[in-house]
Amino acid sequence: MKPVPELLIVDDNPADLGLAREALSGGSHHTQINSVEDGEEALAFLNRTGVHASAIRPDLVILDLNLPKKNGLAVLAAVKTDSDLRRIPVVIFSASRLSQDIARSYELGANCYVSKPGNLNEYFAAVRSIEEFWFGLASLSLRGG
């Protein structure tokens, strides 16, 4: 049996995080949802250091850009220049629609860029679409390699 995919959501907004959890729990794919609220903690989780020493390596990261301590682009750059972590797909999920944020994200190796909708229903739909594509369709490098 395939292991349940592990998802890491990095978002400092508790309301956004709650909505994402709600959207995912009502979805059709069973995932283990982990969340952290700033960029430094995200890297600690991914590198399994400090309080996250026993963290399980995620199969997918959903990353906000505007984060305390270390911003999302810095986290993305750290993941995508790490020879081991770089194979984990990173979905940028940000309220920013600035073309320089989008361009920079792709340059740094983001796997895709989804704008956070302001409207509740659209927000749910966006999270569900991310779930459908990445957990329903894509092959993920499930903790192998």
Partner: protein, 158 residues
């Protein structure tokens, strides 16, 4: 067709898979224009504006490249490697599509910077559903990269 405004570059040598993919995309009205490259060399010429594609511009990249792994002339991994190691093309989303169940290809693909990796279903109906979901995600939900820090329409309006 006008190959300057291409939504999807489909790199596939199997005529059956090409037909299935185009049919599913058109049915859903997901892609106005799809360009099909039948081997890795043609795909690279298209993306790097070489040979018979010398008139194309790096400022008009496709929004998505659907790349089969097993291709004549230049294989899919080599095509991926060249796209992702060149600053002019590395931001173009590339989704690998393969019938391979090789874990090694999956890891190598993501390591080389593939945006995603999909196993082609054998079943016809599932294949169609896969293409529909894929097109919806990458052309509607996803924000494609922009060139020169401004979308093309904005540049033209200036």
């Amino acid at each position: 067709m006008n190959d300057s405004e291409v939504d999807i570059l489909l790199v596939e040598d199997s005529p059956e898979d090409v037909d299935l993919t185009l049919h599913a995309l058109h049915r859903e009205k997901l892609a106005n224009s799809v360009f099909v490259a039948r081997d890795g060399e043609e795909a690279l010429d298209f993306l790097f504006c070489l040979g018979s594609f010398a008139h194309r511009s790096f400022e008009d990249p496709p929004k998505l490249v659907l790349l089969d792994l097993k291709l004549p002339k230049v294989d899919g991994m080599q095509v991926l490697k060249q796209i992702k190691s060149d600053a002019r093309t590395k931001s173009i989303p590339v989704v690998l599509m393969t019938s391979s169940k090789e874990e090694r290809d999956l890891v190598t693909g993501y390591d080389l910077g593939a945006n995603s990796y999909i196993q082609k279903p054998v079943d016809f109906a599932e294949f169609r559903k896969m293409v529909q979901l894929l097109g919806l995600y990458w052309l509607v939900i996803n924000q494609p990269p922009v060139t020169d820090g401004a979308p093309k329409a904005a540049r033209q309006a200036q």
